[in-house]
């Protein structure tokens, strides 16, 4: 006579303990997850060891990899320089030199012949034209010789460059195909460069503890879209200097790979360490 609960009718959950076990399992998983992400031992509040990364090399430059032998086209390099080395050095020398002599000599030999003097002006004109041609040809020859040298140099550099195409360069998190250092390091260095603050503006005893947090959002074009001083330091001189640094950094000198939202922590730990 008693009504059978719907749960018991369900064919999928035949065993009434199954649901409970599932719940217990989920709860345990949840707790394990919470324990994993939770800051149970106050590890985040522990003071960081005073180790500072001093970036001496990767200062923001527009194209820091300029001049670096491009490792990627190394496969093509073998074919391309051969063509140049065959075509360029031979062609100019063979063509230019014989051209110079026949042009010059007939004119020179014609010089003593003319008897009538009224044509002297014309003669001068011709002479100057010849000189001009000679100079031009000499310049062209010089240029061709330089081209030859350059082609040879390229060839030798291409052979010497044994850098694999995908080697990371610039920064530890660089990928090798970026123009410049890692975007994050670039932005960090750029903001730091624009941050001017004299230690004499602040109470010397507070330098080590002062800190502020700002949130900055850059578009991929390198433009500062918005910013906010999230946690001010409480020192007006310090906070003012941060605002100025951010305003000065509102346009990066080069675009970013993608839109970037940053949490920037400004402090004077490094300065305090050097003034100790």
């Amino acid at each position: 006579m008693s009504v059978i609960p719907l749960r018991q009718v369900n064919t999928f959950h035949k065993d009434p303990k199954f649901g409970r076990l599932l719940l217990v399992s989920l709860v345990i998983h949840g707790l394990v997850w919470a324990a994993f992400i939770g800051d149970w031992f106050g590890s985040s509040s522990r003071p960081k060891p005073p180790v500072y990364y001093v970036d001496l090399i990767h200062k923001p430059v527009l194209n820091p990899q300029a001049g670096r032998p491009d490792p990627r086209p190394s496969k093509k390099q073998q074919a391309a320089p051969v063509k140049k080395s065959v075509a360029t050095p031979v062609a100019p020398k063979a063509v230019t030199k014989p051209e110079v002599k026949p042009l010059v000599k007939p004119v020179k030999t014609a010089k003593p012949k003319p008897v009538p003097k009224p044509d002297q002006r014309q003669e001068k004109k011709v002479q100057s034209a010849i000189d001009e041609i000679r100079q031009r040809q000499a310049r062209e020859a010089e240029r061709d010789a330089l081209k030859d040298k350059l082609a040879k140099l390229r060839e030798s550099v291409g052979a010497a460059a044994t850098v694999p195409a995908d080697v990371p360069v610039g920064m530890p998190d660089g990928t090798g195909d970026e123009v410049g250092v890692s975007a994050l390091a670039f932005v960090q260095a750029f903001i730091q460069q624009n941050w001017a603050l004299s230690p004499y503006l602040l109470d010397q005893s507070r330098i080590a503890n002062i800190e502020a947090k700002a949130i900055l959002a850059y578009s991929s074009a390198g433009k500062l879209v918005r910013y906010r001083i999230d946690t001010p330091s409480g020192n007006s001189q310090f906070d003012d200097s941060l605002k100025k640094a951010i305003i000065k950094s509102q346009q990066l000198p080069q675009p970013l790979p993608k839109d970037l939202e940053l949490v920037v922590i400004f402090n004077l730990k490094e300065m305090a360490a050097t003034r100790r």
Partner: protein
């Protein structure tokens, strides 16, 4: 239902992990530890032009701001046309031009001559935010142009740091320029020296009263080292303490009711407190050793002094009310002439090591001792500026002793007096 709730909780716990992983960077030092400043020369707004006024104002202001250590001056050679234009209002200044030069702050000004009267207007601009920070008009005579520049330098420091500069104050010192050791007064940059005494004897160890109107000093005028007080403006002078023996190193308390000094009336030099009328009120030290050179803490509750009670001369601190003494310095063979900073956190003193005196500072709890001077010569008699930013001291080099000034961290040292006469025992006045 419960299952869905748990899944939701699970998701809520998991999601923040991805959100919290936002990009974070830390900048632990500014790229530049000075403020780039464009300092333009004064321009005549009307009336006759005087290059001397503009040059003198520029020189004094530039020297003061340079001593502060706050600024990096933009090279005037790189100035563009806005430097030659009058700009007393932010709308009149071409800020992008100054941004181009890298300036963050800008000083512009004008002067107006009317006979012997001079009106100078100075302005400080924030180039990045394109706004006027501060400005002031000074009215005086042509000879006051240095004072105007010092006053404007004080104003600039006040605007940028929140605390006024000490450049309008003055420095007293002892010099034998006239053949005798007399008391002199000069500007903070060493200019406009003025002789205050004519004792034709030995004057030593001056100190200003906290309001700056009087100077206490010791003189052998009456063949005994007696303590005198002198009103600076009226020139009135009076013998103040003339106990038998030493009456030296008189230092007025911050509340100006008592004077701490060294008396040796009983044979052994001890620290006493006397009233402003010269009557002895309290004996601070009572020890077989020599106790001298007292200096008050800014709150008036403690006195630091030098004593050899534990062997070599060291700096000790005495509580004025309880009489309890604690030793401050532990190193060095000879520690002397302590001076408590106006902020109360540090004490500056001189110490002899390797046969040479150098300037040191130490926290008033005896920690964080720092040496400030190096190199040849003896550096002695250090005293703080009224804002605690600078230290004035005397230094001898090759037998010539002169007064020097440096920043409180020991940088930016510069000589104030000439090497031709012996100058020592400087004392920095309060703000006037």
């Amino acid at each position: 239902m419960l299952l869905r709730c748990l899944i939701a909780v699970f998701l809520c716990l998991a999601l923040p992990c991805t959100v919290l992983a936002a990009t974070q960077i830390e900048i632990s030092s500014p790229g530049e530890q000075t403020i780039p400043l464009g300092l333009t020369k004064l321009l005549p707004d009307q009336g006759p032009r005087s290059a001397r006024i503009a040059d003198e104002f520029d020189e004094v202001l530039g020297a003061d701001l340079d001593l502060s250590g706050l600024f990096r001056f933009i090279d005037p050679q790189s100035f563009l046309d806005d430097a030659g234009r009058i700009g007393l209002f932010s709308t009149q200044v071409n800020f992008p031009q100054w941004r181009l030069l890298g300036a963050e702050t800008l000083i512009k000004g004008t002067y107006h001559l009317d006979g012997d009267n001079l009106v100078v207007e100075g302005r400080l601009f924030d180039v990045v935010n394109r706004r006027l920070l501060t400005g002031r008009r000074y009215v005086g005579q042509v000879k006051d142009v240095r004072r105007m520049a010092h006053a404007f330098a004080d104003l600039v420091l006040k605007e940028l740091t929140g605390e006024e500069g000490p450049f309008s104050s003055r420095i007293a010192y002892i010099s034998n320029q006239t053949g005798d050791k007399e008391l002199w007064l000069m500007d903070v940059d060493g200019k406009r020296p003025l002789r205050l005494t004519n004792h034709r004897s030995i004057v030593l160890n001056p100190d200003f009263s906290p309001h700056g109107k009087e100077i206490l000093f010791t003189s052998y005028r009456a063949n005994n080292p007696d303590l005198y007080r002198k009103e600076i403006y009226t020139g009135k002078e009076a013998k103040f303490s003339y106990q038998p023996g030493l009456n030296t190193a008189g230092r007025m308390s911050p509340n100006q009711r008592e004077v701490a000094l060294t008396l040796s009336k009983d044979g052994n030099p001890e620290i006493y407190l006397i009233s402003t009328s010269g009557r002895i009120r309290k004996r601070i030290t009572d020890n077989w050793g020599i106790d001298s050179d007292p200096t008050w803490s800014p709150d008036g509750g403690k006195i630091a002094f030098v004593s050899n009670r534990q062997g070599n001369p060291h700096v000790f601190i005495a509580d004025v009310f309880t009489g309890k003494k604690t030793r401050l310095t532990t190193r060095g063979k000879y520690n002397a002439t302590p001076a408590w900073s106006p902020k109360g956190d540090r004490i500056v003193f001189s110490r002899q090591e390797n046969g040479r005196f150098d300037i040191y500072t130490i926290k008033s709890d005896g920690t964080d001792e720092r040496r400030l001077t190096f190199g040849p010569g003896n550096s002695e008699h250090p005293r703080w500026s009224p804002d605690g930013r600078f230290i004035v001291y005397s230094r001898d080099k090759d037998g010539n002793r002169a007064v020097y000034v440096m920043r409180a961290d020991g940088t930016g040292s510069r000589r104030l007096t000439s090497l031709e006469s012996d100058c020592r025992h400087p004392a920095w006045s309060p703000r006037w």
